[in-house]
């Protein structure tokens, strides 16, 4: 099996990442204590006896982070991973994401939303865990499952909801839709419908950050780009092309794989020769990390390190987050192929419930406060839906707008002004 190739490499690692038995056995063996919990295989308990170190050693190291936070939590006097403010911020963001998506489903079945709608339920920990660590100038590039990325990045819920309803007050004036959320103010660049399309664009955004710093000499430009994409995308050529170029040019980017184990109806294990995506990072010279994507605190720890690495100029990181989507691929997907026990297993690991439990157990917050946040989000969404409902549809004149940045598409003249503004432009034919 594929893991046999990585065995000698791991043996040379300076520290023992996982219990030695795990990496040497094939993935499908149900007895291996594999850090990768494949969906159709027997579910395994991670061995909590392995010693792990969170800090990165050298580039090219491969390790699973899933155990780390568990370790930390089980030691006697825990140093908490988050402060109360941070905890509440994370909780609020995840509840916003979940409630928003649920509201989308409701609106879709009422006919207010149409076309392709892909919901993010269950994966909120990744969006919150990563995006809440970013500055406004950092960029996020997403896929068609982008509502929650937009919300985490700061696009107002009203704007996203209007966009989904196709109203002119949407973040893209109704011209983009569910799959094409753009906000230049919040540096959210897409929203791409094609699998793998966002990855090179994200690499380009990271390239522009490096170019600004080195060629244009904007010394304080240390913007980081996050590219979010799924497990199916990791078999696409563009993914590998960009891993290569990002590592080659040491671009400030983090490739975040939201491995929810299913690409519409195609199981990740049926589609991929080596399902352990994080191992593909070191093949290109960057660290590959696997993390439990249902736990926002673990995701946050890994994200902190990856983003800091990129900001320091040390290059890209590949982070594989194991997660699950509670709903189907889209609202049109009957979702018949997934095993109900698998769904139940992941439903029990709901990230919001887990964070709630953590906050209460560590006395960072109480039931009442969290319920107040729930209520606040509900009101916010009611307001967003009302706003979207009452917003006007785009006027007919908007149809032909925004095709070009240049008002009539005739280019810029040598004097620097738009050609169409020059009254002589339409006289006769062009000549020298």
């Amino acid at each position: 099996m594929a893991t046999a190739f990585s065995a000698p490499k791991l043996a040379a690692q300076p520290f023992n990442t996982i219990s030695p038995t795990s990496q040497h056995k094939p993935l499908i063996s149900p007895t291996a204590a594999s850090p990768f919990l494949g969906s159709t295989r027997k579910l395994l308990r991670l061995s909590s006896s392995s010693q792990l170190n969170l800090r990165r050693r050298s580039s090219g190291s491969v390790f699973a982070v899933s155990d780390i936070v568990k370790e930390k939590k089980s030691t006697s006097i825990p140093s908490l991973l988050i402060t109360k403010e941070e905890g509440l911020e994370l909780y609020e963001d995840m509840v916003l994401g979940r409630a928003f998506e649920d509201m989308c489903a409701q609106m879709y079945y009422r006919g207010k939303m149409f076309g392709f709608v892909h919901l993010y339920n269950g994966q909120e920990a990744i969006s919150t865990g990563f995006i809440k660590l970013l500055k406004q100038q950092d960029s996020v590039v997403s896929t068609y499952r982008d509502h929650v990325h937009a919300l985490s990045k700061g696009v107002p819920a009203r704007a996203v909801m209007s966009e989904l309803f196709g109203k002119t007050t949407g973040c893209c004036r109704g011209q983009g839709g569910s799959m094409h959320m753009f906000s230049s103010e919040h540096n959210l660049i897409g929203g791409f419908a094609f699998i793998g399309e966002g990855i090179p664009v994200a690499t380009g955004a990271a390239f522009s950050s490096k170019y600004r710093r080195e060629v244009l000499k904007e010394a304080d430009c240390d913007h980081v780009t996050l590219a979010f994409f799924g497990d199916g995308t990791c078999n696409n050529g563009q993914f590998f092309e960009c891993l290569n170029m990002a590592a080659l040019w040491k671009l400030p980017i983090v490739f975040v794989v939201e491995n929810n184990l299913w690409a519409i109806g195609m199981s990740h294990l049926r589609a991929t020769s080596d399902p352990q995506i994080y191992k593909k990072g070191p093949a290109f010279g960057m660290p590959g990390v696997h993390v439990d994507g249902m736990d926002v605190l673990k995701v946050r720890e890994v994200a902190k390190e990856a983003i800091a690495r990129a900001r320091r100029g040390e290059g890209p990181t590949l982070v594989e987050c194991e997660t699950y989507r509670f709903r189907g691929h889209s609202l049109a997907d009957p979702d018949e192929l997934r095993d109900p026990t698998e769904k139940a297993h992941y439903a029990a690991r709901d990230p919001i419930t887990a964070l709630k439990k953590y906050l209460i157990e560590n006395n960072l917050s109480g039931e009442a406060e969290l319920k107040a946040i729930d209520k606040k989000i509900d009101e916010l969404l009611e307001d967003a839906v009302e706003f979207a409902d009452e917003s006007p549809l785009p006027p007919r004149s908007q149809l032909l707008e925004n095709v070009f940045a240049d008002p009539k598409g005739f280019g810029i003249g040598p004097d620097g002004r738009y050609r169409c503004e020059d009254p002589k432009f339409t006289e006769g034919t062009a000549h020298v």
């Binding site: 399309e197 090179p200 380009g204 390239f207 940045a405 598409g409 280019g411 432009f425």
Partner: protein, 367 residues
Amino acid sequence: MLAIARQRILGQSFQKIRPAVSVLRSYSSAAKQITVREALNSALDEEMSADPKVFLMGEEVGEYQGAYKITKGLLEKYGPERVLDTPITEAGFTGIGVGAAYYGLKPVVEFMTFNFSMQAIDHIINSAAKSNYMSAGQISVPIVFRGPNGAAAGVGAQHSQCYASWYASCPGLKVLSPYNSEDARGLLKAAIRDPDPVVFLENELLYGESFPVSDEVLDSSFCIPIGKAKIEREGKDVTITAFSKMVGYALKAAEILEKDGIHAEVINLRSIRPLDRSTINASVRKTNRLVTVEEGFPQHGVGAEICASVVEESFAYLDAPVERIAGADVPMPYAANLERMAVPQIEDIVRAARRACYRSVPLAAAA
């Protein structure tokens, strides 16, 4: 054919003797002549020095000095951070260029030929052309995709396709196709300064051809308007539209037709999208006959669009059915004689123009 080959060899040998940018001193004749290659190189050089946000990326653009030597000397002048040699990853590096353009940089992405752009066409159309619309004006993409397009000499089916009609059918893109050195310089400079994605279709066989240029063309602020065609030769009997290499053929055909008393008006389209419908229609209203010439496949081609536009707007002015000359409806064959048959030749243009001119003449008056 021989004449073109000889000119190419001449052009290439001069290229070896002369340094990259000083184009004028070696010719001592009265009119200044520069090759299309020099025109493109000087345009890139000037735009890169005027704006530090302009950078080049593509295969072999740096150390190899460009697969067709268009980017010769630029690596030495601007360094590896602005002239990037990429791995062979069209989809990847085109997407990277688009992402960089989203953030205000101005990439000039070179495709070794536009045939390879098919590996990246998703980024050209979906991430570049459509972005300004999808984001409702928030994100503009000031990128240029350039490279040789169309048939070269004996390169076979996969290296000879013309992509003008494919790209020109997509809203959000500007598609330019220069013919001579003046077009090459002016249009490339306009394309680089333009805030929208531009597909710049050059022609490999024209790279080595020299054309006379005036001082105005050599000025560093020289720019040709996008969306305006040029009437290369005035006439009154038939309108011949063409772009890229076919303009040269059309001009030669016009000279042959002149001897027959047919004064052809040759229009160099320069800009395929936006298409200069007003110039074409004005010309057809004057001459009453139309022959469109292109190198690409006939179905859904540029000529089809021009003919439809003329029929829609100037039907009453037409005295003869519109004529379309295009490449043969086959993948490009390799054998030299078959290749010659698959691409329009001067005789084909002459024949079509004659057909257009005689069709409506009553038999009794035929001389």
